[in-house]
């Protein structure tokens, strides 16, 4: 009986110390969205329960190892106890109630993170190996995700190739992005600052580098930025030519696979490409002229360059004028 009392008394301070130890180590990143506050609340409840469970098992375990250890010269067996049905039922039923409560709480909070605001700003997200593109309601595209504070954004996401996943640690919640489908994620930023979106689902060799800035600003700052971006993009595209091509290349993340400095990435380099003789997988050789480059953008598998895999480059939706300007840009890369 004495042992039970000692262990029973020890469990309480150990639970509390464990919980405060966890609290003091600041495990989570900054809470930058409404959803992150909910997630952290669930996490906090988890930690409270788990600290208690930790003490409940570890205290009697360590206590037994010290008190009930075999001392030098001691022989003989331990106490013959086969079990106790009441006790077994207790430690089956109580956890059962506990996990049911947790499942309810988990379902409830899941609902809270999914609350939809009908006035949410919609941003279309396109992920592909290995970059992000964000289409804004103001009609322009950027590689950066700018979000006005305290306004829900609905991200409508799709992938051009493999599975990716949208994750900003400070916003907590993740969503995979699938080819051929649109998945959505709703986030309400509540803290000004600069964060990063990472791809969280293994998507090939450069998966580690698939990251882009996420900037939470005031509504006024956002409006100004959006207006300026939209105007700049409109003039650039209207102008056409290499400058517009360069912008299109940046937006579509072509640089993820095609270098402009001659190094070999997943796809052939663009440096010195225009006008050169290209050896194909089929054994033929073709001249990299405007027709070839246009075809290769529109139908990447029509002519596969020797030493590079087929079925890797995604299909980009680009207008003829846009493709023309990209080809014009490639032409400048001597």
């Amino acid at each position: 009986m004495r042992h039970f009392v000692i262990v029973g008394v020890l469990v309480i301070p150990v639970s509390i110390l464990t919980y405060f130890g966890i609290q003091a180590s600041h495990l989570m990143p900054v809470e930058a969205s409404v959803q992150s506050v909910i997630v952290d609340q669930v996490w906090n409840w988890d930690m409270m329960t788990l600290s208690f469970l930790f003490a409940l098992i570890m205290v009697p375990l360590v206590y037994s190892l010290i008190v009930f250890r075999r001392r030098k010269g001691e022989t003989g067996d331990g106490k013959h106890e086969e079990g106790n049905v009441k006790l077994e039922v207790t430690w089956t039923i109580i956890p059962l109630i506990l996990v049911t409560a947790y499942a309810y709480m988990g379902a409830y909070t899941l609902g809270e993170t999914r609350v939809a605001d009908p006035n949410a700003m919609v941003v279309n997200v396109t992920a592909h190996q290995w970059d992000w593109a964000f289409d804004y309601p103001e009609g322009f595209t950027s590689n950066e995700l700018h979000l006005p504070i305290n306004r829900q954004v609905e991200l409508k996401m799709t992938s051009l190739d493999v599975i990716h996943s949208f994750w900003v640690p400070e916003f907590r919640i993740k969503q995979d992005i699938l080819p051929g489908r649109i998945t959505t994620l709703r986030i309400t930023p509540v803290k000004l600052g600069s964060y990063k979106v990472y791809c969280a689902e293994l998507c090939g060799t450069s998966h580690a580098y698939m990251q882009r800035p996420v900037i939470v600003t005031s509504q006024a700052d956002y409006d100004a930025w959006a207006k300026q971006q939209a105007a700049a993009q409109a003039t650039l595209l209207a102008k056409g030519g290499p400058e517009a091509g360069k912008a299109m290349v940046a937006q579509n993340g072509c640089g993820g696979c095609h270098s402009i400095d001659g190094s070999k990435l997943t796809g052939p380099t663009w440096r010195g490409l225009f006008g050169s003789q290209v050896k194909l997988e089929s054994g033929q050789t073709v001249k990299a002229d405007e027709a070839y480059l246009t075809e290769s953008i529109k139908d990447p598998n029509a002519k596969i360059v020797a030493g590079f895999p087929a079925n890797v480059m995604p299909h980009f939706t680009l207008t003829d004028q846009q493709i023309q300007s990209i080809v014009a840009y490639i032409e400048t890369l001597k």
């Binding site: 009697p60 001691e74 331990g78 089956t92 947790y102 988990g106 919640i173 699938l178 080819p179 090939g204």
Partner: protein, 614 residues
């Protein structure tokens, strides 16, 4: 050396190479006739490599002689029921029908795979010590990372084969498994599977992780096909091994061994075998569908052809989640089996512990969706999967409470096997505690695909299987060899391994919460994780040193260990009440169960008696 070149292993490997080449050339010739491009990036084309690998696996089996009895029977030729093995080491590289030899073959293969997979981990762990790329390319990083995962998983499955094959017939008082030839087949099919798996290194590797999600795996290099083929081939071992074990347990128990008088490890082995027999097919199947998608253009998972990538994840996790219980149930069985011996007390709540294994196996079938909370599967599935996932905590909790109650009021001894048992309980407990945050959906959306999960499952699998596996080796090594492992080296092994491992996994969880994603070759310096990664890398090297000490101890003790032929641990179990090493046909006299298995501390009680006293 001469004996090696005459062995079944060598013959099998040579025939595998010949078969592989022949198959590849055959496809290449057909391609030539059909006017298709005959050669590809890695000399042969992908279909040639895949077909060749299948032929090679079959010729391995034929060449090693593991199917020769069946072949003889099919032709109407009688072969002897028993085959006597030579009394030397060469029986371990030849086909043997003795469950003890097969168990040791499995165990040594598992150790080889652990060392291989561990080396892969060390390579990329070293790479991660600093940000930026040090000495690996992105492709090689991903290949090593992916192979580490799958080689360790196969290693664990093979290790389970070792533990179950060696111990189950012994513990139930049988002389062998129900189907000895099938048993040999289950082992030998692993070998060509492992060769295929490792051959992916030479064929461009694969960058998909061990999960092999399409569409990524549908566009990875040819290496990914060798990974698929390796699993499809080696998977037979799991399925057939499970079948054999269930038949053995149901039909061959000693007289008087009723269900609730079976050793607790047998309950665990049954639960595990039920899972492998019924679910392992889905693992091979999901890979096979991708293999067909690549070779034959069948768009199972290709959205542009009406396929669905999420379907793959359902098929894959329908096995791969229960697989976790395949890994841990035998380990938890070992913990429950050894605790009473070293505490000198009955296993507390034996029936509850036995039923909890079955409970875990059953509930384990209903939880696979928790790997897919962020995947884009139907949202209404999230809540039921969350509830079933959290339910697993109930039978698992029963085990923990029962273990602690077993320790309570005991007379606890701590030789090396017991240290690993206690280490297993602590590590598995950390794995268990880090589970519920992954189970509740809202928190999981932050945790999934981060290092938190990596830390969680390493704790689960090491606590649930690897520590108990070490405990089992320290405990039963004398049974197999008549010599014991060196205690001092064993203590070094434990005290280097255990703290390093705890540090490693706790830091994994910590960096995961901050923002370290899984499976990345490089991490953002802005996250400030370099110091953590240095500590993790040091811990990984300490674990490697500890393992090296173990391997040295293992090899040295076979010949030079302290002689231990008697009931070294003072156990009630039948195998310890006959001399070590175990005689060829186990028990000279029939075993009869006359008492409870774990009645330590009850004077005059006996579990088994030998001979037929009517």
């Amino acid at each position: 050396m001469r004996l090696f070149f005459k062995s079944a292993l060598w013959r099998g490997l040579v025939w595998q190479a010949i078969g592989w080449l022949a198959g590849a050339i055959f496809v290449t010739l057909i391609r030539l006739v059909m006017g298709l491009q005959p050669l590809g990036t890695f000399f042969f084309t992908e279909p040639a490599w895949v077909f060749g690998s299948l032929v090679g696996a079959l010729t391995f089996l034929a060449g090693s002689g593991v199917v020769s009895d069946w072949y003889a029977w099919a032709r109407g030729i009688e072969t002897p029921e028993h085959r006597e093995d030579p009394d030397s080491w060469e029986k371990y590289i030849n086909v043997s029908l003795d469950h003890k030899v097969i168990g040791i073959q499995y165990t040594v293969t598992a150790l080889f795979l652990f060392v291989t997979g561990g080396t892969f981990a060390l390579i990329f762990r070293t790479e991660l010590a600093q940000t930026g790329l040090q000495f690996l390319s992105l492709g090689w990083y991903n290949t090593f990372m992916s192979l580490h995962g799958i080689v360790m998983i196969i290693g664990i499955l093979v290790g389970i084969g070792g533990v179950m094959n060696y111990l189950v017939p012994m513990l139930i008082g049988a002389d062998d498994m129900a189907f000895p030839r099938l048993n040999a087949f289950s082992y030998w099919i692993v070998v060509p599977g492992v060769v295929l798996l490792l051959s992916s290194l030479a064929l461009g590797g694969f960058d998909t992780g061990w999960t092999g999600y399409p569409p990524l795996s549908a566009r990875a290099p040819v290496g990914v096909q060798m990974f698929f083929m390796g699993i499809i081939v080696a998977g037979w071992s799991s399925i057939l091994g499970g079948l054999n074990l269930i038949a053995t347990t149901l039909r061959m128990r000693a007289k008087g061994m009723t269900a609730f008088r079976m050793p607790i490890l047998i309950w665990a082995a049954m639960a595990t075998s039920l899972i492998t027999l019924t679910a392992a097919q889905l693992f091979g199947l999901s890979f096979q569908l991708v293999l067909f998608q690549r070779l034959l253009g069948m768009g199972f998972f290709d959205p542009s052809k009406g396929g669905n990538p999420i379907l793959y994840q359902h098929l894959f996790w329908f096995y791969s989640h229960p697989a976790v219980y395949v890994f841990v149930l035998p380990g938890l069985g070992i913990i429950s089996e050894l605790l009473p011996v070293f505490v000198r007390k009955p296993l507390y709540g034996y029936r509850w512990v036995a039923m909890s294994s079955m409970g875990i196996a059953l509930v384990g079938f209903l939880v696979w969706g928790h790997h897919m909370f962020a995947s884009g599967m139907n949202q209404y599935l999230q809540v039921p999967f969350m509830y079933s996932t959290l339910l697993v905590a109930v039978p698992t909790g029963v085990k923990f409470f029962s273990w602690v109650a077993t320790l309570w009021n005991g007379k606890i001894e701590t030789p090396t096997p017991m240290l690993f048992v206690l280490g297993a309980i602590v590590v598995f407990f950390l794995g268990g505690l880090s589970g519920p945050p992954n189970g509740t959906v809202a928190t999981d959306l932050h945790l999934t695909d981060t290092y938190f999960v990596v830390g969680h499952f390493h704790d689960t699998i090491f606590g649930g299987y690897v520590f108990p596996f070490f405990a089992a080796i320290y405990y039963w090594f004398p049974k197999a060899t008549g010599r014991r492992l060196n205690e001092k080296l064993g203590k070094w092994h434990f005290w280097l391994f255990f703290p390093s491992f705890i540090v490693l996994t706790l830091i994994m969880m910590r960096v995961g919460l901050i923002g370290m994603r899984r499976r990345i070759a490089d991490y953002d310096p802005a996250l400030g994780l370099v110091d953590y990664h240095i500590v993790m890398t040091i811990a990984a090297y300490l674990i490697a040193i500890a393992t090296a000490i173990f391997i040295y101890n293992f090899v040295r003790s076979i010949k030079h260990g302290e002689v231990a032929t008697g009931n070294l641990w003072n156990s009630r179990s039948p195998e310890w009440n006959v001399p070590s090493p175990m005689p060829v046909h186990n028990y000279d006299e029939p075993v009869e169960v006359i008492g409870e298995p774990y009645d330590y501390g009850l004077p005059g009680s006996q579990y088994v008696r030998f001979g037929t006293k009517e």
